[in-house]
């Protein structure tokens, strides 16, 4: 109001006599030259309040603003500069040290690959570990390694997560108190001194199956130093029956390797070479190569007889579900028909109805003598193993399709006997120092041994372990174990090939290897495993050529020529009588209660025997057949479920299945377990998976599922009978990623028999849907002048092993969401493996279909995104721009394949420090609220394109491997440039069995499938699968 020339102003001026100061006006006018008008008296008086008023009324006549454009710019420039200064946060006072001498190979942004090997279940798989700036981020198979041939299994893929697991044991401890290694060594010294005096009396070592030559030698030295000491081995899912079977048949320990690449007919007697069995990666490769239609003679036929559905059964051309006890009867009857003397040819009543099946299989095997395989599964008793060996010998398969070698493990023993002896001695007070190298016997030893109770009787217990687990908790000393990616060691693969394990990173938590602990026991506590392993191999290679051979072994990932030589075998004399002596278990006889069930134990398909319980990738990985995540369930057949009055109900939430919780009682022990109704499961039996119900696994694994080890005893290690099931009336919610078993009449998985396909490929795979013409679109098509990426997936090869799913998760930083989110249907896997059943639920045909993004030419998702966050690339990729995504989820709704995944919450862990180095630096870690999906591993495409451009050439076919393709043991997934007619993917897409799914929607998917071909026995085809 101050400068407003109001009446008040004027009044004030008047009172001072200023309004019209005549002398001043005159003086002013006198000073002016020329014609000067005045508009009003105020102007004439040159009153300042007049000018203020005039400026407001007539801005144009106002004097120039004091704040000019230049001033404005100057001031803004300065304030922007200051704002810039302000944005510079104070740097934290942390010293960084640059490389004084940069490591030679490390170029930021360029990964390096190192060959190493992952030991597992008494075997090993050779891997190439990808290292970014010194941190391993991804595991690939080592193409030079016979167990891998470039592919991997789920465990190898997920092992890198275990390395960075924040729940891993991080400190050495004594009764829960943190101690340094030196304290352990000094406290151990007097004990060892005393032990030396007593020649090692009372010292016991318990390890898992040892297949490390160096460790075996160290153990030999240890036993030499302490002659009274004893070495026990126990691993819950080891080849207990396989070893016994080999002893029974041959009187010695031998290992059998099966050559699917040489065979025409395979019979798996409860064996799962394409699934859970050790060495499956190689078996899947060999099998899948024989399921391609190019060469008629090469097509392999697979029969499976099994007591619990497996991937092998799903891949089989004929599958026969039999109760566990019936398989031995079957094997005996078969053996009698295949020239194994002394077997009763008549079929006992329980399997009489499968006579035709058996006869046909026997004829087929006989017709392919020398080109067939009969393999017995680990679950089956030693007799079945021995019978399988005998059949193979009788058919002349030995040395051709079945290769016998000396055992891969360093010292094969009957592990159950070994552990029982140890526990007996512990209980008797004969053990005063027990050193456990890995393993978790408190959790996984047979329940009747009551290992935990026996352990409390041992005065000094030392446990080396990756996790502070159930056993560590009851031990005095706990030593954190180095992960294989942190260790120097060596191991033998299934065919005997030795790999040197070299570390990718220094132990994150100061972990020790078994080598170092054993060295400490033999009085050299400060020897590193590097020295120990090198010393062993120096002796092996010879000092002269050592460095060369060592370097080559490290570089190649294998020690050349270390595979075990084939070994001729002969059945022991008196084989027939040995076999006949234990009469085959007759279910009816053994079991007065007809209501009772038989029980089948199996290692869990994703977390194994429980050692991977704290691995979120494996916990969330859907089990191949049940598609359950995060826990196990007891599997029963639909008929058995009906008899017991058990139901599985779909709830109104995501993919939640409500199931009955039952009490499973076996040999006086019982556990509570949810029951899952499993099509294809034999009646009268129940399958439980080991590995769950952990109490000290870590934050991820503790408390999931039920502990089936509590039912497992030394007498019923894999199979048992007399199991009773009591309903509790309670319900339990299971998280399954696929709750619909059938294809609902949709043409998703196409299949034909190989014979029909060969007669007329197009007729065999004809289907109904109308496919629109390519130009039926409002929008102009895309042109691809350069590359056009595409994928083909051979359903004939795929056995549903899931390696691709975990590989994708590892490559693309896919988060784990937890059971509660899976229950809501929010799992994040970019690639899923769909499992469909066809036919009778008693024994359905099972097929798998890996489903990544289809990268459609007419992508329905692209049209509906309001912000162009999902867009078509010049090479035909359907790109996802995370930064741009606002999360309308319209794209997911409009995706007929439902391959899109949404971050409903903040799923990626941005907090845990140890998980940060795990991430692939080439892939964005997504935030909450954005959509994501398969990119065809665009980071790998771009990497290859850059490399090619630098060399001035095009990307070569096969140069880009997507993560799923690279991991696939079956080579089912092929990726490449479909603009290049010579590429492998183009040739696959040119096959008549190539088809796209839901093409009637005019999506024109880039990912196509090659129809599944089966090779049924014509004799059995009428009563197919029976």
């Amino acid at each position: 109001m101050d400068d407003h020339p109001t009446k008040r102003d004027r009044a004030r001026a008047a009172s001072k006599g200023e309004i019209f100061d005549l002398p001043r006006v005159r003086a002013r006018l006198g000073g002016l030259r020329g014609r000067q008008y005045w508009r009003c008296l105020e102007e004439l008086a040159d009153n300042p309040s007049f000018w203020r008023h005039a400026a407001r009324e007539f801005p144009s006549s106002a004097p120039p603003d004091a704040f000019s454009r230049r001033d404005f710019l100057r001031l803004m420039g300065a304030s922007l500069a200051l704002a810039g200064l302000g944005a510079c946060a104070r740097r934290p006072a942390e010293k960084i040290v640059p490389y004084v001498r940069a490591p030679e190979e490390i170029v930021p942004g360029k990964p390096l690959f190192y060959a190493t090997a992952m030991p597992l279940n008494g075997g090993a798989i050779g891997v190439l570990a990808e290292s970014h700036m010194g941190r391993p981020t991804k595991i690939e198979g080592n193409p030079a390694h016979p167990s891998s041939l470039g592919a991997t299994d789920i465990f190898a893929q997920a092992s890198v997560l275990t390395l960075y697991d924040p729940d891993r044991s991080q400190t050495l401890s004594y009764r829960g108190h943190i101690r340094p290694w030196s304290a352990f060594v000094s406290e151990l010294a007097p004990v060892l001194q005393e032990k030396r005096k007593k020649k090692g009396q009372g010292l016991r070592i318990l390890s898992e199956t040892v297949n490390s030559p160096t460790l075996a030698q160290q153990m030999g030295a240890l036993l030499a130093a302490y002659p009274g000491a004893r070495w026990h081995q126990y691993e819950p899912a080891s080849r207990h029956n396989g070893r016994a079977g080999s002893l029974l048949a041959f009187g010695e320990y031998v290992d059998a390797r099966y050559r699917f690449d040489q065979a025409q007919v395979v019979l798996a007697l409860d064996a799962d070479p394409l699934g859970a069995d050790p060495g499956s990666v190689r078996y899947i490769r060999d099998f899948a190569r024989r399921r391609r239609p190019h060469d008629e003679a090469a097509f392999i036929r697979l029969y499976a007889v099994e007591c619990s559905p497996s991937n092998t059964g799903a891949a089989a051309d004929h599958r026969l579900p039999l109760a566990p006890s019936q398989i031995e009867l079957f094997a005996r009857a078969l053996a009698s028909r295949l020239g194994v003397g002394g077997m009763e040819p008549q079929l006992p009543p329980p399997i009489e109805r499968y006579r035709d099946w058996l006869e046909a299989v026997a004829r087929d095997l006989k017709a392919h003598a020398g080109k067939s395989i009969v393999m017995a599964g680990e679950r089956q008793p030693a007799t079945v193993h021995a019978l399988a060996h005998a059949i193979n010998l009788a058919l002349g398969n030995s040395g051709r399709t079945v290769i016998y070698t000396a055992p891969v493990e360093a010292r094969p023993v009957d592990q159950i006997e070994s552990l029982s002896a140890l526990v007996g001695d512990m209980r008797a007070g004969n053990v005063d120092c027990l050193v456990m190298l890995g393993g978790n016997p408190v959790y996984n030893a047979p329940a009747d041994l009551n290992f935990a109770e026996a352990l409390s009787k041992v005065p000094l217990t030392i446990h080396l372990s990756l996790y502070h687990n159930e056993t560590s908790y009851l031990c005095q000393w706990h030593i954190p174990e180095a992960h294989y990616l942190e260790s120097w060691s060596d191991c033998r693969a299934e065919d005997g090939t030795v790999s040197i394990i070299q570390p990718l990173i220094a132990p994150l938590y100061g972990g020790k290897t078994a080598h170092e602990v054993v060295a400490a026991l033999t009085g050299s506590p400060n020897r590193s495993s590097y020295e120990i392993v090198r010393e062993y191999w120096r002796a092996r290679f010879g000092a002269a050529r050592f460095e060369t051979l060592w370097e080559r072994a490290l570089h190649d990932g294998i020690v050349e020529g270390s595979a075990l030589a084939p070994k001729p075998v002969r059945l022991v004399s008196g084989f027939k009588s040995r076999l006949s002596s234990p009469p085959p278990r007759q279910r009816e006889a053994a079991n007065p209660n007809p209501e009772a069930l038989e029980i089948v134990f199996a290692p869990d398909p994703t977390i194994g025997d429980g050692r991977f319980a704290n691995n979120g990738w494996l916990q969330e990985l859907p089990k191949p057949l049940t598609k359950l995540t995060w826990e196990n369930a007891a599997l029963v057949s639909p008929a058995t479920a009906e008899r017991l009055g058990l139901k599985n109900d779909l709830l109104f939430s995501g993919r939640t299945v409500s199931v009955d919780l039952v009490e499973i009682a076996h040999q006086g022990r019982s556990v509570r377990a949810p029951v899952w109704i499993m099509p294809g499961h034999p009646d009268g039996a129940i399958t439980v998976h080991l590995g769950y119900g952990r109490t000290r696994a870590g934050r991820v694994g503790t408390g999931n599922g039920f502990d089936a080890y509590r039912l497992r005893t030394t007498s019923s290690l894999w199979l048992g009978s007399g199991v009773e099931i009591g309903k509790t009336g309670q319900k339990h919610l299971l998280a399954s990623t696929q709750t619909h078993f059938t294809m609902a009449g949709r043409d998703l998985v196409r299949a034909a028999s190989f014979a029909a396909y060969r007669r007329d490929p197009h007729l065999a795979l004809a289907h109904q849907a109308h496919e629109p013409k390519q130009d039926e679109s409002l929008y102009p098509g895309f042109r691809y002048d350069g590359y056009a990426w595409g994928m083909a997936i051979d359903l004939s090869a795929c056995v549903g092993c899931n390696a691709c799913v975990v590989a994708c998760q590892a490559e693309n930083n896919i988060p784990v969401v937890g059971k509660e989110q899976v229950l809501r249907g929010r799992e994040m896997h970019w690639l899923r493996v769909d499992r469909y059943y066809q036919g009778d639920p008693e024994n359905p045909a099972t097929s798998f279909q890996p489903v990544p993004c289809m990268h459609c030419e007419n992508a329905p998702c692209e049209v509906v995104c309001p912000v162009a966050a999902t867009a078509h690339s010049a090479e035909g990729l359907n790109d996802m721009v995370y930064n741009r995504c606002v999360g309308t989820r319209y794209c997911s709704n409009n995706c007929p394949y439902k391959v899109r995944r949404f971050n409903f919450l903040q799923y990626a862990d941005w907090e845990t420090p140890s998980l940060k180095p795990l991430r692939n630096p080439d892939v964005t870690v997504r935030s909450r609220g954005v959509m994501e999906k398969c990119t065809y591993c665009v980071q790998r495409i771009n990497h290859a394109k850059i490399e090619a451009q630098k060399q001035g050439r095009k990307v070569r076919d096969g140069e880009i491997q997507t993560a799923c393709q690279q991991a696939c043991p079956a080579e089912a997934i092929v990726f490449g440039d479909i603009n290049d007619p010579g590429s492998k993917v183009s040739s696959m897409k040119a096959e008549p069995r190539n088809y796209g799914i839901l093409t009637e929607l005019n999506t024109r998917p880039r990912t196509t499938y090659l129809a599944r071909l089966t090779h049924p026995n014509p004799e059995l085809q009428s009563g197919a699968k029976k």
Binding site: S653, R655, H740, V864, C885, V886, N893, K898
Partner: protein
């Protein structure tokens, strides 16, 4: 107003649009007294308190949503759209009646619209406001909602104009703007009346500002009539366009159950249906509470009942055609979709929808039902619920089992879904309560024009 109109209206319907015995003053007194009353009625306070509590629930639900993420709702893959979209379509549909009554009936010179148009328009605005919340809240990253607008930006990216969601933004924003203008312009003469009659200084100032200097001069009236008519002309196509565009969100998708050409007309009919149901739901208690039976007469209620019946039949035809086409097309996915609706896990809701939207409104064929105020109220409520169920069925059952059986899943709302739905109802009611307390819910000057006294003698 033309002279013969009241006569014609009187001839066409036995029931009057305004009860006899009113004068200019009595109309003005009656309507303005509701606003200008010094004492707030106890019922209003209770009603407002309840709806305000629901608004607080909505606020809490939104705050939690923004902090944690859209995962607090029941949405998943495959059902990536849940309650948010159901509620959005439902509210937008309700928002249709206002414009229809104001604009189309104005152009059609239906005088009975006069006593209900004001609050129907207010209802439209509030419903569209509630609707507008949901598309923003349902985003994974709601703070970037403005990326759907074509604004100049350093990224040089525009929205993707092929997406119906972008069309939605334009359709809904335009509709809201026009509805707001239409409503406000219609209010100006009444605001001036309130300004003149208000006894408090605050009221005079606020109403005065809002009245924008209305003095009732002939020029004012001339301009007013012109603007109102023009806006009515503008708003008329919007009645059809908004819900057509909303239906494109579904019809453009490939999903069985969404991918249908019948959707635009079927959605518009559904919208009018639900809009009129909501007007009835609001009008019946209001006329009872404020004694407005003279102004909102049985004539109004019966006319609305007839509109309800007519649009209900169109909607029923839509349901029928959906099923028929699923069978007639021979498309296995469509066939499955209908079978799944009728016999799948959500069948209960489908049959409830048919009961609410098809069966119950058939009662309106009977004049006795149309003459019963309680019956009309109950039927209107049922139709409101039925229309919500319709959107639920369209969104959920189409998504939960689409093409690839391996990905089929189920959907169930969480507590926060319900909290947001009821919170939005609370917001709507709270706004309505504020509206009837502070603005004339019936157009005073237009009511006066309906009086016989208003007829200009030749």
């Amino acid at each position: 107003m033309a002279s013969g109109q009241n006569e014609r209206a009187a001839r066409s319907a036995a029931l009057p649009v305004i009860e006899p015995g009113h004068s200019f003053a009595s109309v003005t007194d009656k309507i303005s007294s509701i606003v200008l009353a010094r004492r707030t009625p106890r019922g209003w306070l209770v009603g407002f308190a309840v709806s305000f509590a629901l608004v607080m629930l909505l606020t809490a639900a939104i705050a939690y949503l923004l902090v944690v993420g859209v995962g607090i709702w029941g949405v998943n893959i495959p059902v990536a759209w849940g309650f948010a979209i159901v509620n959005f379509v439902w509210w937008i549909g309700i928002g249709h009646a206002g414009t229809l009554i104001s604009a189309i009936l104005l152009l059609l010179r239906q005088q009975w619209r006069t006593s209900i148009n004001r609050f129907a328009e207010a209802m439209t605005l509030f419903a569209v406001a509630c609707a507008g919340l949901f598309p923003i809240l349902h985003l994974g990253r709601p703070w970037f909602f403005y990326w759907l607008l074509p604004y100049p930006n350093t990224m040089a990216v525009w929205p993707q104009f092929r997406s119906p969601l972008v069309w939605d933004v334009f359709a809904v924003l335009t509709y809201f703007t026009i509805s707001l203008l239409f409503w406000f312009i219609g209010l100006i003469p009444d605001l001036a009346t309130l300004r003149d009659r208000s006894r408090s200084r605050v009221g005079r100032v606020i109403y005065g500002i809002l009245a924008m200097g209305w003095r009732g001069s002939a020029m004012h009236w001339h301009r007013y009539e012109m603007a109102y008519l023009l806006l009515a002309g503008l708003a008329t196509p919007l009645v059809v366009s908004v819900h057509s565009v909303v239906s494109f969100d579904f019809a453009v998708a490939v999903l069985p159950g969404w991918h249908t050409t019948i959707f635009p007309p079927y959605f518009v009919a559904g919208a009018i249906y639900s809009g009129f149901a909501m007007v009835l739901t609001l009008a019946i208690p209001l006329r009872a509470a404020y004694g407005l039976e003279d102004f909102i007469t049985m004539r109004h209620l019966q006319n609305m009942a007839k509109v309800l019946l007519a649009t209900g039949l169109i909607v029923a035809y839509g349901y029928m055609m959906e099923a028929f086409m699923a069978w007639y097309s021979g498309n296995p996915y469509e066939t499955f979709m209908i079978a799944n609706r009728a016999g799948g896990p959500y069948a209960m809701f489908y049959w409830a929808l048919l009961f609410c939207n098809v069966a119950v409104p058939q009662l309106l064929w009977f004049p006795r039902v149309r003459a019963s105020v309680p019956a009309l109220f109950v039927i209107a409520l049922i139709v409101n619920i039925g229309m919500w169920l319709e959107r639920f069925i369209i969104v959920i059952t189409s998504l939960h089992r689409d093409f690839v059986p391996s990905s089929w899943g189920m959907y169930a709302p969480t507590f926060w879904d319900w909290a947001t739905l009821f919170g939005s109802i609370g917001l709507f009611l709270a706004l309505m309560f504020l509206f009837i307390r502070f603005l004339p819910m019936i157009s005073i000057f237009e009511m006066r024009a309906l009086l016989p006294q208003a007829e200009v003698k030749p």
